[in-house]
């Protein structure tokens, strides 16, 4: 999917700063969505990055709507780097209101894009554009994926949905 004009400008500026720390990523890092937000969580899980000791806890509130389980609220907290924090923020932005199945598909798509082939991101390219440069920095991939892996573990902690 083509980038907007603003995103092009952002990308040009960020190349001058740092390929990885684009303006859009820094915006999520500095004002993260879902960070330390109090929710009525049905499940939460703490994920750890063994390479650096970063810890992040993801919590979810799930409701059964129209024959599907939907993430109605999501939050995270913990001590982590900007990449992990921005990824968690984008995750909170994107999965709110999504069904569990949609969330799992999205997680697989992002993981595949960062790990194997960037084109696997498909129609999600615009939402995840701040993270896509990470594919060129393999050592930081685990930072971006920690929130998503933790979310997947969180969902496993859920009691059986009706």
């Amino acid at each position: 999917m083509a980038l907007t004009k603003k995103q092009h400008v952002d990308q040009k500026e960020s190349r001058q700063q740092h390929q990885l720390y684009q303006t859009a990523l820094l915006a999520h890092h500095k004002q993260p969505i879902g960070f330390e937000v109090a929710i009525n969580a049905d499940a939460s899980h703490e994920g750890v990055n063994p390479a650096c000791g970063d810890e992040i806890t993801v919590s979810c509130e799930i409701k059964h709507q129209h024959e599907a389980s939907v993430i109605t609220a999501i939050a995270f907290h913990g001590d982590s780097c900007a990449i992990c924090r921005a990824s968690a923020s984008i995750m909170c932005q994107e999965v709110q209101g999504k069904t569990l199945v949609e969330t799992q598909v999205m997680s697989r798509q992002l993981t595949g894009a960062l790990s194997t082939n960037i084109s696997m991101i498909g129609e999600l390219a615009e939402q995840f554009s701040p993270l896509l440069m990470i594919q060129q920095f393999p050592v930081r991939k685990q930072c971006a994926l920690l929130p998503w892996n933790t979310l997947m573990e969180t969902l496993k902690c859920l009691p059986d949905q009706p």
Binding site: H18, Y21, H29, D54
Partner: protein
């Protein structure tokens, strides 16, 4: 102090087009390689390589002689009595595991059920000098005691001494922490242990770069280090064992070249250091180690140490001027040689270590970020991770200035 390192041009990586602005500040992880060492390895591999200690032909015999001569050269380098006290292995980690399973585990096996026993290490150990002891302690149900540190990051001798008792079967400590950088008073500590009849191992991975190690003066039972921490290749480690200790130890790994005789039921092992060197020797790496020692001796350990100590003082002073600089251990006022750390671990206020490392990498600066394989030490100091800058003889004032400028920019960009 020279503004430019007089030895920098010996390191070909600085001439590489692939890394035009390299500012390498990670020598505590591994040192860059001087051309002398790379050439020696290349020359050996091209023109002299054969299997040592196996062939009867001249090429092999020459390699055997070279390895045995290398033992003597290493013994001479660290003040050991003879080459018979030196065994080659893959590195410090390998050497510590060797001592754990060749020397300490048999002591634990001999222990009678119900007997008390403990192993003592310090709070500042690299995982390489923690995990083997932790596993043995768990496996044989003995206590692993952790000696605390002083405020300056060195091992607290009084507290360590109090932990050593009649049940202590082994003491394993670092000569110099890979996170905190100050030399521990290992000779004093070994004397305390010796008076209590406790065998000792000193992890010299970080101390060996000072070149002034004297195992006879330290009077430890075992001393271990890696070639790549003194500008040699990776894949070569040294284990020093005092007196005839090698003879009383069982081999750690088994394979070719370690037996006197063997049949399908049993084996009789040879004596001496070769017993701990099964399979083929990494001769190229041993050759590289010897070349590295010769290189350092030729350019003068004294001059190098003086140069790096001066540069380290400049590094500490410049970093301390930064308002966001948060060292794990605050530097003392002393200017004693032993009190100068040639590495520093720190945090940048409100910026994650990995982000700093990535941003500095963008400026060509190579530093370490994380727990540096010393996670419990970081926990003890109340942090998850840190940034570590460590010096080598190729560094100079411009590297420190570049580090300071890049840290300032990174902090401005990332701080919340």
């Amino acid at each position: 102090m020279s503004i430019v390192s007089p030895w920098k041009h010996d390191f070909p990586v600085y001439l590489s087009h692939a890394h035009p602005n390299l500012c390498y500040l990670d020598s505590a992880a591994t040192c860059l390689t001087p051309k002398h060492v790379a050439d020696a390895v290349f020359h050996y591999q091209c023109y002299a390589h054969a299997n040592s200690h196996k062939g009867l032909y001249q090429l092999s015999a020459s390699v055997t002689e070279r390895v045995e001569h290398a033992r003597e050269q290493v013994a001479n380098f660290i003040g050991a009595h003879s080459g018979e006290n030196i065994s080659f292995n893959h590195g410090t980690t390998d050497a510590i595991n060797l001592v754990a399973y060749s020397f300490v585990e048999p002591l634990l096996i001999e222990k009678q059920e119900g007997d008390q026993a403990n192993i003592v290490i310090s709070a500042a150990e690299h995982h390489a000098n923690l995990l083997p002891w932790q596993r043995l302690a768990q496996q044989y149900n003995v206590e692993l005691r952790i000696a605390p540190l002083n405020k300056d990051g060195t091992i607290n001798q009084a507290n360590l001494s109090a932990l050593l008792d009649s049940d202590t079967i082994f003491l394993a400590i670092t000569h110099c922490s890979n996170v905190l950088g100050l030399m521990n008073p290992v000779a004093n500590i070994c004397r305390i242990a010796r008076n209590k009849g406790i065998p000792t191992l000193i992890d010299g991975a970080q101390a060996i770069c000072k070149g002034a190690v004297d195992v006879s003066e330290i009077d430890c039972d075992f001393y271990v280090f890696s070639a790549h921490k003194i500008y040699g290749p990776t894949g070569c480690g040294v284990l020093y064992a005092k007196g005839s200790l090698f003879d009383s130890m069982r081999p750690y790994q088994l394979g070719g070249g370690v037996i006197e005789s063997v049949n399908y039921q049993q084996s009789r092992f040879i004596t001496g250091p070769l017993k701990f060197e099964p399979g083929s020797h990494n001769v190229a790496a041993i050759v590289g180690l010897i070349e590295a020692i010769d290189y350092m001796t030729d350019i003068s350990w004294h001059d190098v140490n003086q140069y790096i100590d001066n540069l380290a003082n400049y590094m500490h002073s410049e970093l301390e001027n930064l308002p966001f600089y948060q060292p794990l251990i605050k530097r003392g006022d002393s200017n004693e040689k032993e009190k100068i750390s040639t590495l520093v671990s720190f945090q940048v206020k409100k910026v994650h270590c990995h982000d700093i490392a990535s941003l500095l990498d963008n400026d060509g600066i190579a530093i370490r970020a994380g727990h540096h394989c010393a996670q419990p030490l970081h926990q003890t100091l109340g942090v998850n991770a840190s940034i570590r800058a460590s010096l080598g003889l190729y560094n100079d004032v411009s590297d420190i200035d570049k580090l300071v400028a890049s840290l300032t920019t990174a902090h401005k960009m990332m701080s919340l």
